[in-house]
Point group: C2
Chain length 439, copies 2
């Protein structure tokens, strides 16, 4: 964890085992997102905070049919322990899913995990020693940063713009960290429809980022939960489609089918894959046979590509509702306009603090995730992540209108009680720390 | 890991990322049990090796009914992410299950995990620093030892006899380790129908072991997968029923329902429980909603206690088949005679090595787990774990007859090529290192 943002100690002297915890446990603090879930669950609140997929867009009878076929035809396998690597047939089917993003691979190198979150945990367990560094986009996925910290590694952020991670910032980070004698264990990236920024790494930059990683012998951890959820044209091919030996790829069925099954996977270079299986076996013995077989049967018997198209349509409509509401209610602010995925990244006027503003938002019955949740170094103070994945277009519109009230209320307060300068009204699509070559 | 049994490095210089792994990864070697699974899966082999429950004794229509009710009534919840602590209703039902072993608790202190294996991983992640010590019965559960090693902790074994862990050996271990300045993080124990020894900690010893733990401020990790699977009288009440603040209790539905769902739990003192939830969220976001709801619905609508009785009957019959076959075919050897659970612990003549003997066993079409798998220190060389949980009584009989051939063949070989003494024929129920107060 960085010095700007020390972890909270959640234990105290009332805990008789306080002095017994491992050093790494000091880094396990409740995330800002977690506290929000409690708030957002109240029905009168429009939550633009969580990342829950729109499972209501999945016809449940398709799942019920798959379940019943599994129990009828393979019940005793579904109920039993399985292999630590996952069901062979499902691993073959995962190849078909990844082929849609240009990836060629062998089912031997796929390891099924309890959601791709668990793949991220296992890779971190395999690679991270205390004091190691992980490079990640700034902002980055909140629970990735939590995992890295839980293994006592530091996350250092690479700047982004509307075309994704900026190669020059990556080079600068590597040079600085090497000069400091730090060990960079991997580059964690969400190249397509990034969480939380909503931007996509361009094809040219994919090539350049991979070349930088190769030149510096840095492993790349490509997390791709949203790649198939594009609104129009697909994103550029996956990093793993370009480079095999230097990339661990993480995928999931949580967004293209449903998260309730907890079925994700890692595709890893051969030697790493072998260790991942051992780590998976130590952690859970085997991923759920039942969940894997239901997902496999669903892929086999349902037109799952048509269902992914249906999800795309749902999310496209919701994204458009959000962008249109932002244009109407908050025309002076800047935001990203994603081509897929779940998230919009909003930049507030520089004198507003998104975390301090949250109680007012909850009072106005709208929830969001403050930008600081996505930085290990205290960045993101005047940013907000807005999720359009779960609420209906109507609810999104109501939520953004409430957000307008919240922001105006904060600005009035600032104007009344402090000597603030004029509002920033530039619509520049930059993030909290605009890089020099921003376009 | 102990010095007698250094971990194998499973990577090598063909792995370009070889020098990048965390120090802990050196401890992740393939277990002896793992290699056996491949062998045991050949249909002509009678496997007395694995610990797979007899899921064929579970009427599948009960599961199918529960699944369909869940999807009909709560489909959108089942398909979605859930809370990191687990479904509230299931946590209440888990209290009823634990009440059968004398435990009183609050659902607030239950954390649902991806099998109890994952609870063991998460507790280890929370507590174990490199160089820490875990105390565990000798022999102990193989994958527990693997987890402790994966967090760079050493397992030190406490001697057992037919009444379970020997309090005097626990005292001696603690005194020695304290004198050496070592940090003992917890005592890991399977008090009832232990894996692999099949023995049960007596009531008097439960009280004494807990007093020793209290006196030395050592946390107890009670792993209880088999407690409800007694053949006649139930085992003494759980350790957690006697002591609350000093015990983390692990339970699972893998043996009383089915392992394919991967639903287990931890019951932990309040402050530890809070950290367990955070660790669970970091690792998997939330355990599978679908699996949890199906288990919950099953517990609600099925007479699950009657089903546990049915499992008891199946395992009792298989245990009796194994003991009877051992008496007939290997009358000169000693073994434990469990009152519940899945396992018998067999002691070979002292000049036989169970691991060296394994290839001959596979040739004779019978598989078992060599005793060394259950020790961190190279112990168990002339022991074998025999599982009676999965094969039918007829198969068990065939397997033990084949094992007789294997052992006789090895003894003939030793007699022919070396100067061996007379066979040990004492039937003393002792383990590989008989303690002085053995009864």
């Amino acid at each position: 964890m960085s010095s700007q943002n020390p972890p909270q100690q959640s234990g105290n002297n009332l805990d008789p085992w306080y002095s017994n915890y491992a050093a790494r446990t000091a880094g396990l603090a409740a995330s800002e997102v977690r506290a929000l879930f409690a708030v957002a669950s109240r029905p009168e609140v429009v939550s633009l905070a969580g990342g829950m997929p729109a499972v209501s867009a999945l016809p449940q009878e398709l799942v019920i049919e798959s379940m019943n076929r599994v129990m009828r035809d393979q019940g005793s396998v579904a109920l039993q322990y399985g292999s630590g690597q996952g069901v062979p047939k499902l691993r073959e089917q995962i190849l078909e899913v990844m082929a849609m993003e240009g990836i060629k691979a062998s089912a031997d190198d796929v390891v099924v995990t309890t959601g791709s979150q668990h793949a991220l945990e296992l890779v971190s367990k395999l690679f991270l020693d205390p004091g190691d560094v992980v490079l990640a986009e700034g902002p980055s996925y909140v629970t990735a940063v939590v995992i890295f910290r839980s293994f006592q590694a530091e996350t250092h952020h690479v700047a982004m713009d509307a075309h994704g991670m900026i190669p020059e910032s990556l080079r600068e980070n590597i040079a600085r960290l090497k000069a400091e004698g730090r060990r960079i264990k991997f580059l964690y990236t969400i190249p397509s429809f990034q969480n939380p920024a909503g931007v996509t790494l361009s094809w040219e930059r994919r090539l350049e980022i991979l070349q930088i990683a190769r030149d510096n012998e840095i492993l790349v951890l490509e997390d791709n939960p949203y790649g198939l959820l594009h609104f129009d044209a697909p994103p550029p091919p996956a990093l793993r489609s370009i480079e095999q030996e230097g990339v661990i790829y993480l995928g999931t069925f949580s967004k293209t089918l449903a998260p309730g099954f907890r079925v994700g996977w890692a595709l890893a270079p051969h030697a790493i894959r072998e260790k991942l299986i051992l780590a998976n076996e130590a952690a859970v013995l085997s991923p759920s046979s039942f969940s894997q077989l239901v997902v496999s049967e669903y892929l086999d018997s349902i037109d799952w590509r048509a269902q992914v198209d249906r999800f795309r349509g749902v999310y496209r409509e919701r994204k458009e509702a959000m962008i249109s509401a932002l244009s109407e209610y908050l025309p002076n602010l800047s935001w990203t306009d994603p081509d897929g995925g779940f998230y919009v990244w909003l930049t507030l006027p520089p004198n507003l603090d998104s975390k301090q503003m949250l109680p007012r938002a909850v009072k106005e019955l709208v929830a969001y995730t403050p930008g600081t949740a996505f930085y290990a170094d205290g960045g993101g103070r005047n940013n907000i992540r807005l999720s359009f994945c779960y609420p209906t277009p109507e609810a999104i519109r109501v939520g953004i209108r409430r957000l307008q009230n919240v922001i105006n209320g904060e600005l009035d307060l600032l104007e009344t009680f402090s000597a603030t300068g004029p509002l920033q009204t530039v619509r520049d699509r930059s993030f909290s720390a605009p890089p020099p070559n921003l376009d």
